[in-house]
Symmetry: C2
Subunit: 696 residues, 2 copies
Amino acid sequence: MSSSIDQQHVDIMAERAKCTFDPAVLTPLFYGGEENLKRLKAVEAMVDSDPVFNREDQYFLGRTERFKRALPMVKRYVELRNQHGLTPDESAHFRKYIDDYIPVNLQESMFLPVLQAQASDEQLQQWLPPAQAFRHIGCYAQTELGHGSNLNNLETTATFDVERDQWIIHSPTQSSAKFWIGSLGKIATHAIVQAKLIIFGKDYGAHPFLVPVRSLRDHTLLPGIMIKDQGPKQGAVSMDNGYARFDNVRIPRENMLMRFSKVSRDGTFSKPPHPKLAYGGMTTVRTALISASAMAMARGATIATRYCAVRRQGTVQPATGLETQVLDYPSVQSRVLPLISHAFATIFSADWMTELYAQYNSNASTGDISLLKDVHVYSSGLKSYCTKLGADGIEEARRALGGHGYSLFSGMIDFHRQFLAAVTYEGENALLTQQVSRYLLKLYKDLLRDSKTHLSAPSRYIAQVTSSYSEFVSQRCQAQTLQDLYQPEVIIRAFQHRAARLIHELAEAEKRTSNGAGVGGWSDLNLECMRLSKAHVQLIMVENFHTGLERHYNNNNNNSSSSNKEKELALLAAVRSLFYLHVFWTMETELAEFLEDGYLSSQQAAWVRQAYKDSLARVRPNAVGFSDAFGFSDTFLNSALGSYDGRAYARLAAMTELEPLNKDLTDEKGVIWGYEEYLKPIITGQVGPFRVKSKL
Amino acid sequence: MSSSIDQQHVDIMAERAKCTFDPAVLTPLFYGGEENLKRLKAVEAMVDSDPVFNREDQYFLGRTERFKRALPMVKRYVELRNQHGLTPDESAHFRKYIDDYIPVNLQESMFLPVLQAQASDEQLQQWLPPAQAFRHIGCYAQTELGHGSNLNNLETTATFDVERDQWIIHSPTQSSAKFWIGSLGKIATHAIVQAKLIIFGKDYGAHPFLVPVRSLRDHTLLPGIMIKDQGPKQGAVSMDNGYARFDNVRIPRENMLMRFSKVSRDGTFSKPPHPKLAYGGMTTVRTALISASAMAMARGATIATRYCAVRRQGTVQPATGLETQVLDYPSVQSRVLPLISHAFATIFSADWMTELYAQYNSNASTGDISLLKDVHVYSSGLKSYCTKLGADGIEEARRALGGHGYSLFSGMIDFHRQFLAAVTYEGENALLTQQVSRYLLKLYKDLLRDSKTHLSAPSRYIAQVTSSYSEFVSQRCQAQTLQDLYQPEVIIRAFQHRAARLIHELAEAEKRTSNGAGVGGWSDLNLECMRLSKAHVQLIMVENFHTGLERHYNNNNNNSSSSNKEKELALLAAVRSLFYLHVFWTMETELAEFLEDGYLSSQQAAWVRQAYKDSLARVRPNAVGFSDAFGFSDTFLNSALGSYDGRAYARLAAMTELEPLNKDLTDEKGVIWGYEEYLKPIITGQVGPFRVKSKL
């Protein structure tokens, strides 16, 4: 009856035995190819072999201890990076793999990129070497108490003093205080401060300034600067996000970052030739967040899948006399398996976005910035959608783990808390959807005016709705059988139809919106924008998944030996089962939007629900195989429930050994700290007799 | 342009000035009436005035420190309870109001109720007084590593030794270890252990036994007992949930709890007359969880509403020159305001459930247990639905707060982590939906066989689908205009139709399900059961909200003065606006299920979306008023963002003062701990030069 420890190991190995493909073949997809995978796994080995990065105590430490534990990591990280001359992507993987948001985490991912993007060549000559070597520890100070991503409304001022050739950096109000600035609280020596540039009383808007904040000699705060750590957060436990106010702090004129805008000795302000060029940074970070979302989903899916394969509950199977593996229940499958499919969908879209961005950068170097809008819109839309898909999907999977999912030992909680920040930063998710929808609406209107307007591939479908609307609304899904729903054209047409309809409806709603009611105008269309952006991004996700899987895994190599051919087909079938799961999960989740103009019939809607359920059943046998394909080490997962060997209960029990309440707070006779003072008086009745006599 | 500190206070007071009703009139709804409210507020004052319960440092402490801080609270709580003779509901409120899950939190809410329900009168005479006085600190040990709520599959054994008249309590396997047992880890002196009762080799299933676990003399563990704290969790930070194994531990025969089953000296086992009587406890806890869900939603809604009323971003309003209060944006409204409406919906359903349960208990005392099934099914369904509604809704509202929602100072995170447990315990949410659906399916089949089958009020609608199905499927929503959608009959008919259809479809699916495929039979219908249970519960929620608001606030008292009459009508209108928001939020969220058999037309679906948006706008002006109506003190909210006076930014800044990194870890010159050892070597370039030369 009971699932013993060995049974859990037997169960997970049996899952591997029935997997229809070799998981290792899929792993490079998540690490940028085979060569990269090899290098990055070598980085992981470097981390694993160093006791400074041991994460055994991670779940037991409060914030103060996590911070204290992170400082030795900072030093060791820089040492190893220097010693081995790690490339930027190796360094980035090193920091991810530590799995702790150490207080210099943003040096290379934020401070250096902004510096390189915004400082002039002469400035870089001076500032880049110490920053790259960590002799300057930097941070990027944009967000204030009162404003975050809206640069126009920042309040910190940088006023030019032409006499002394200096900027005066000042925080005029409480709400102008810088807040959320990673590394600033306790560590950074320099901050790139976004401040309103003011010359002779004229406000030129926010610009970046390099402000030294701590002495390079003894790390004391420089005059006029008040900085504190801003306190505990949902995640980023070890990071010293800072709260800062500037009281007329003076820096040289040359400390304004002058790659684009410039200010001369006499206070003459000159604008950059292409103002849009100044905004590359956000796109880089958003693009990175798409693959980060994929990896977070993959991590949650790995733990949840493995544990649900070794957890047995409920119905006893006659064949074995054992209870059922919970992964065999549709209710569990529906909470865990879609996350696997979303991880694949997201990595394919991350790859697509990375290519698009590379294309843009390559064009831009020759002066062609025609892809700028696409790059901005698609990185925004995908960031908004994928971070939410991950944040919600991981939590949903966690809830499928029963009570043990509530233990930090599950490994499902700590990293999710960290990931949750991504929903908010680099553009709040709801706001980003407005930019996507505004763009689509513009294309729609352009098309109405001129049917020859150029559309890039992912938005070409809009033409369906601009030629004849009456024709468009009479479109119906062509599936005659449940099986027809599996045709990629049928699927993509359905997603296109829905998105096109929502563009049309947004345009109609905009016409109706007077500027009088509510906030007025465009802002009243928030909900319509959110719906449209999601519909458009879901279409792109489906298209990218389909294109990517055909390109990578539909190998029409007729020279393959028949045994290889068989393996290739099995792999293709396995990845396709995930494609369909992602598709039908999405369609079922959004079913109303396919139904409400009659595009899907009642019968077809029922087929969608059935196809979703069937897809769960088809992915099920390979689920553990997919979890292996993600390529996570046990060390990284740090999970009692999701380890490779499946021995969940033994690990849960073993991990309690390290709990401080069992070690430091319990004496040799097994008695808890505080017994004499707080418990004995109660147990021995020294706290007065009890009789209910409420007189309140 | 910028929102200064005073502006935030001005803004929130302006919100109060425009509220159309007196919030204080609504507060008793959330505290069980006016008399209760007064008593419970007196309890709050008692807690507030005692420094032991000061929660200023709550967000800074790790688990070890939270546990250490909780022990003095335990002692002081017992002292005050005894001194004032607090009633059970006053004690319960005291513990809730502390807002820390102290390690004796389950003594009165779990240990005592189980003891009282399961021990015989003679046993109670002996055991109740010390337990009530906390001289015995108890816990309830059911869950094991391998099994939770399924009593049948527990592995711990209690074997009768007839010679010595003793039970031998034993944990035969790793997975039989008790786990998740609150208070057991470090505190409890006694455990009620659920164990398989075995006499002369025969297994009689799980029964409860009172097992002393620690010495009453010196608190050391008793022989044969291994207990550890089980490590850190998502919430319940201060609670010492325990992990325990028993190695042939002997207790007297009389320590079996014998109110129902009994075992005599010679090992004769006797069953209770009504076996179902033994299962009251779960219902009590589930019922309590429904109101706990309402209060959690109310808490999250209070913070989110207030902060979104004082946070200004984006569009500048011409009239004032100030940016827009974010609560004026539909995207923010749609994430925050529904939570207010759900809190009201849930409290009305909690009241309904409490009454139903009281009715059952009153009947049961005269031997009539006909309501048992209803009580079980509705407490399960509502628990499953409301805990999820709260868990998801609070997180959604948190994400509407921008970056500051990610700070623990927001007050949105700590309590939510605690609340998340409710989704899982006392019956996992997905499992509970199966019991609801199975019940409905049975009623449906009974009705098909016999159209005179008795149906209690909330399930009477099932008859719609059993008389003539062809007639039923041709039903269409009768709304001819958007305005018609606001008729309660139209709303309730729509919810009834949908639930009735899903019952019919579940019955059809059951016929099709062979016992061969998948897990087999009923288990393959998980997803259908989840859908049906949700549909049925959403109907009940809507009905209870409607009945409750009409009963409480539609005062047809013609003797009212005209000024009173006006106030009464304004209050009624305000609560009705929440009713409609709850209704249309639910309908929009579940729109596919109203559309897929054609019950709603495309036009009507569009009206639902419009009615939802209109409802947001109607609730908006009273939003802060509703937050006041929930009656939370600032001390309890412990939130920089959601305090009564609105001064969010000033509080965020002030709370950083207490951060340990700023106090204990920073020296008098402002230099951080670890600078010399870990940072100086980096900043001064002692960690080697850097040049990329990857050789990995």
